[in-house]
Structure formats: C-alpha cells, structure tokens
C-alpha cells in the first residue's frame, strides 16, 4: 500500500497505511504462478474495499508496457471520499487468470498496519 500522488510529488509512492480524506490510496500487487514462481501476466485483479458497510470494487491495471517492461505489477488507486469515517478500512484483492485459476490476498492481520482513515 502506498500514497499515489501524481508523478513528481515528493511523497508519491511512499509506503503508508494511514490516509486522510481526499488522499489517493495506492494498491500494488504481484501475481505469481505457484508452479513456476513466475509472474502470471494474464491475471485480472480487483481490489475490494469495504467502506461504510459497502464494498467498492476497483479493477487493477497491469503496469508493465513495451516501454517499461520492468514494471511487473498491478496498480489501482482509491481516493478516500470526504464522508469516510475515521478508522480501519478492510480490503482484499482477488485475481483470476486465463486458466480459470483464482486467488485472494489479505493484508497482514496487524491492527496498526491496516488501511486506516485519520483526521
């Protein structure tokens, strides 16, 4: 999890789990094929953010391009709505690939490390 400010911003892409309303929460993921340890490029990923009793689904985008092939990860951004209450926001990430395989990610279960909205 990182702060996804625009490129050039001094804090863009720093690691963080505490965000204020209006700030862009950045999700970055990698998908590995467990039989090879290699990246599974066909994977489709979705972040599921549970906020205020509702689940917001955010599709992730594969970041590598022909010009930047080294960016072998998926990204998504969620801007914290202004009416979001303070506290912990739970999220998961799910994936499916072209073979029909699926997977789910959950962050480490440490309270202080959870995505948290602060004033």
């Amino acid at each position: 999890m990182a702060l996804f400010q625009p490129p050039g911003h001094p804090d863009n892409c720093i690691l963080r789990n505490r965000f204020k309303r209006g700030e862009p929460v950045g999700f970055r993921m990698f998908v590995a094929d467990p039989s090879t340890q290699k990246r599974e490029e066909s994977a489709q990923l979705v972040v599921h953010v549970n906020v205020a009793g509702k689940t917001v689904d955010i599709p992730m985008r594969y970041r590598a391009t022909a010009a930047q092939p080294e960016r072998e990860f998926w990204v998504a951004k969620w801007v914290v709505p202004q009416d979001t209450p303070t506290g912990i926001i739970r999220y998961t990430v799910t994936a499916t690939d072209k073979y029909g395989r699926t997977g789910e990610f959950r962050p480490f279960e440490v309270q202080a490390s959870q995505l948290t909205i602060v004033d």
Binding site: M1, A2, D11, N12, C13, I14, L15, R16, N17, R18, R28, M29, F30, V31, A32, D33, P34, S35, T36, Q37, K38, E40, A43, L45, E70, R71, E72, F73, V93, T94, A95, T96, D97, Y99, G100, R101, T102, G103, E104, F105, R106, P107, F108, E109, V110, Q111, A112, S113
Partner: protein
C-alpha cells in the same frame, strides 16, 4: 494445518511483491550464523514438523516493511513506512507459502539482506506463529508472519537502501523476494 492469509485457490497466488524465480539463494549466507539486533530471547525453538501434503509447488514469499518502534503503545508501532530516522527500528515482515496447497510453509527460514554503507547485513527473521503474542494486536493467530528488525545506526547518513529477502525450507526449496522497483518506495534513511 496453518492456513494462509494469502489464499491460493486452484493455483494462483496473489502476492504484494515480486517473487523471483529460480534457485537464487545460492551463495547467500544461511540464517543461523548471523547475529540479529534487538534479540535476546534465547535460543530459537526447534523447527516445526512438516505439514501434511507439503511440499507441493514452489516456495513463495512476499512481504513489506514497517516501523517496529517500541513500546507497542507508540502511535508509530507497526505502521507502514519506508522512511526511517536514525535509531528507528526498521521492521521486515514476510510470509512464506507452499505454492501447491496455499498453506503457510512454516518450516521456511527467512533472512533479510540489507545493503548499508557498502556492506551486506543479514537480518534473520523469526516466525511469529509460535509464542504468545497479544491477541489484540494479532487477531488472526497463529500468525503467518516472519519478522526481522534492524535498528538504523545513530551515525547513519541519509540514503536509499536496497534489500532482498531469501528463504529456504526443510524440503530444500528456495525463494527470493525483492520489493517493488519504484525508487521512492525503497527503504530510505531520512533526517
């Protein structure tokens, strides 16, 4: 059987960081000989027994870094960050998974390798699945997490540091983790 936090259903593991393939652990120092900072908990427990069905697939690892400021009541304890000041406790958090089953591979031995001031520092990691940890802080127990700590020296100069984490399990499987490549996301020592 220890269930993973990152479930692996029908074969695809979703991880939050790069998992490099191949036997890249060759030539790197094993965990046992390297002294760790901030320890003093006595001898480590014996390695756990192999879990039923292991090994299947590859060994997969991933993780992140966090502030391991103590005591645990500090507001910065266990928050995610990649910027650390002198004297601050840099925490490495990892998990290891048996690729075929999706279970935590609790026989894995992990070591973080930090490049600092031209030297390579090995930080052995400790599995948090054994021992009593406060339920309020770790609601999902036993924890699937390995942790290691490095304290930023008092004379450290501001710099960006690189690190990797290597793992090997009782079945001889190995894995190497490298963080996402964005420069701003790398571990940094700041004023």
């Amino acid at each position: 059987m220890t269930r993973p936090r990152s479930a692996l259903l029908s074969g695809v593991l979703v991880a939050a960081a790069t998992i490099a393939g191949g036997p890249t652990i060759a030539g790197q120092q094993p965990a046992a000989p390297a002294p760790a900072q901030g320890r003093g908990r006595g001898a480590p427990p014996p390695p756990p027994e192999p879990q039923a069905g292991h090994p299947t697939g590859k060994l997969l690892i991933w993780g992140d870094v966090a502030s391991f400021d103590v005591p645990g009541t500090l507001p910065t304890h266990c928050i995610l960050t990649n910027r650390f000041k002198r004297g601050q406790r840099m925490g490495f958090r990892m998990t290891a998974i048996d690729g075929g089953s999706g279970d935590v591979e609790n026989t894995a031995v992990l070591v973080a390798h930090l490049k600092y001031a031209g030297a390579a520092i090995d930080v052995p990691m400790r599995w948090r699945g054994v021992g009593g940890f406060p339920a309020a802080e770790y609601p999902r127990q036993p924890s699937e997490m390995w942790t290691g700590v490095w304290v930023v020296p008092a004379d450290a100069q501001p710099a960006v540091l690189s690190y990797t984490v290597t793992a090997t399990d009782r079945f001889g499987r190995t894995a190497t983790f490298s963080p996402f490549i964005n420069l701003v996301s790398q571990i940094a020592i700041v004023e």
